[in-house]
Symmetry: C2
Subunit: 300 residues, 2 copies
């Protein structure tokens, strides 16, 4: 199976699991449930949950890994989705469309959009806790995942990166400042995804360290590639307008380093990410390595 | 020591713990840290964290209980604080002042206020995970607390109650609808507080059940008492304007049942809450029972 097919297959499995993730029997106001599911079902690459599954597979093989890692895969997609809902709000990026569909607050109003984001973030931790059910993952490992998610999605992680991005807009002048934003806004959740996936499968501490390096470097490469595609990508393939960074005067890697050096950075970071995994003695690392290559070569 | 002094002493201990709860060494954008601490330090009764500590004490005594329960006390205050920041936003209740101070978004702007709320909610789960450090609480019990917090603060809990309140404003006509809002908007976090406190101290399953009943009934009594004080309270003691519910056309218990019946409800619910605890064989239940009486008789 090609990497693209593997990703599509895993993304479909994640989609099925997400459908079950908010218990039907819970007495939730219908409008809130709709708003949560609207954004959760809005598509997207499902990159983070697929990385959770691929990292678990790297440790102990596909069939074994899927059941234990799936609650974590759902959790990270909920965190990612909540962050998009809140980012799109009028007080933040004020976006009317995402992936070709009206943003959450355009459909449900600002108040419900804020609450739907809050509910998805909260529910992510409920999902994480499910990993320990049926003895699939130990309570200790599951609790370590709770703590990591809280750190990497929180003030010193994703929310910190988002805040720095917001406050620094148009004022960023160095690669160091841009790296802070990208590392926290993007890489932290990707590093979380592969480490948590590894944890559900019983990865050793040196393997967890390698997954952390892999995630951070891959996240940075992913973000630089995003910046490049915004300049030279095909709008039809991307499903969004290009040159938005230029129009918004956003400081990016291509802006600071030029296109050639940015491309070199993507290749260097991807190679280093892969090397960390290759040297950590995983039994089944091929899918994880394949995804790294796939992301480097992607055109959307 | 009187109940009022006990609450003040525990609230001060919580305040000290909250100062340590966001690690100084974390690289968090200064503005975000300020916004989080601004609302976290804005005072308030600290009712929920004090109930966490009093419930732990009910099981195994004061000194024993405090260390293990304190991370949970901090967590619930963070969840409560985030909910106030988001509730005050222009898209929600649009409040400029809370406890006599400008609301978070009036000081830091809407975007940072949204992010500070998100960060506090996320960090609450980090705090919960700390309860298992140094072997104070088992990983299993800590994980059960994570799951309960996610449920009772999430879509089927507090966020659900907030959504119902928001969508139902001025359209509520029955006690049942009002109960749904109060139970989820207020009681769920109070029930969480006492149950989680009990869990950190090793409460039995029948004791946990009793604490859940105590929390739900106490939360409802607390909310009705709030409605009563809004009509007949002393503005100076309350620190806020009275009659705000009438001015906002809010449907309340006194509006639906009359003042006398509302007072009877507070007394009945408080008595039933206490009875549940009294019958559950706690070794040191006095503080928990004292707080119930104190809340029933409060004038602010």
């Amino acid at each position: 199976m090609s990497t693209a097919d593997y990703i599509a297959e895993k993304a479909a499995a994640v989609q099925d699991a997400l459908h079950q993730a908010l218990p039907q029997e819970w007495d939730v106001p219908e409008r809130l449930r709709e708003a949560m599911l609207y954004s959760l079902n809005a598509g997207g690459k499902r990159l983070r949950p697929v990385l959770v599954l691929a990292a678990a597979e790297a440790v102990n093989g596909e069939a074994e890994a899927a059941g234990a890692a799936m609650p974590i895969a759902c959790a990270i997609e909920m965190v990612h989705t909540y962050s998009l809902i809140h980012d799109d709000l009028p007080a933040m990026d004020d976006d009317d469309f995402r992936r070709g569909k009206p943003t959450n607050h355009k459909v449900f109003g600002e108040a419900v959009a804020i609450l739907a984001g809050d509910a998805l973030l909260t529910h992510a931790f409920y999902c994480v806790a499910q990993a320990a059910k049926n003895g699939r993952v130990s309570a200790e490992a599951t609790l370590a995942i709770v703590e990591e998610l809280a750190r990497l999605a929180g003030a010193p992680g994703m929310v910190g990166g988002q805040t720095a991005d917001l406050l620094g807009e148009q004022g960023i002048t160095t690669i160091e400042e841009l790296d802070y934003i990208h590392l926290h806004k993007t890489s932290d959740l990707i590093a979380f995804s592969v480490q948590a996936g590894g944890r559900t499968a019983g990865a050793s501490s040196s393997q967890l360290e390698a997954l952390g390096i892999f995630g951070r470097k891959l996240g940075l490469a992913f973000q630089i590639q995003d910046d490049i595609l915004d300049l030279v990508g095909d709008e039809a393939k991307l499903g969004k307008k290009t040159n938005s960074d230029v129009e918004q005067n956003k400081v990016t890697y291509p802006y600071l380093l030029g296109m050639d050096k940015s491309r070199e950075e993507v290749e260097r970071l991807t190679a280093e990410a892969k090397q960390a995994v290759e040297e950590a003695g995983f039994a089944y690392p091929d899918r994880l390595l394949g995804i790294a290559d796939y992301l480097m070569k992607r055109d959307h």
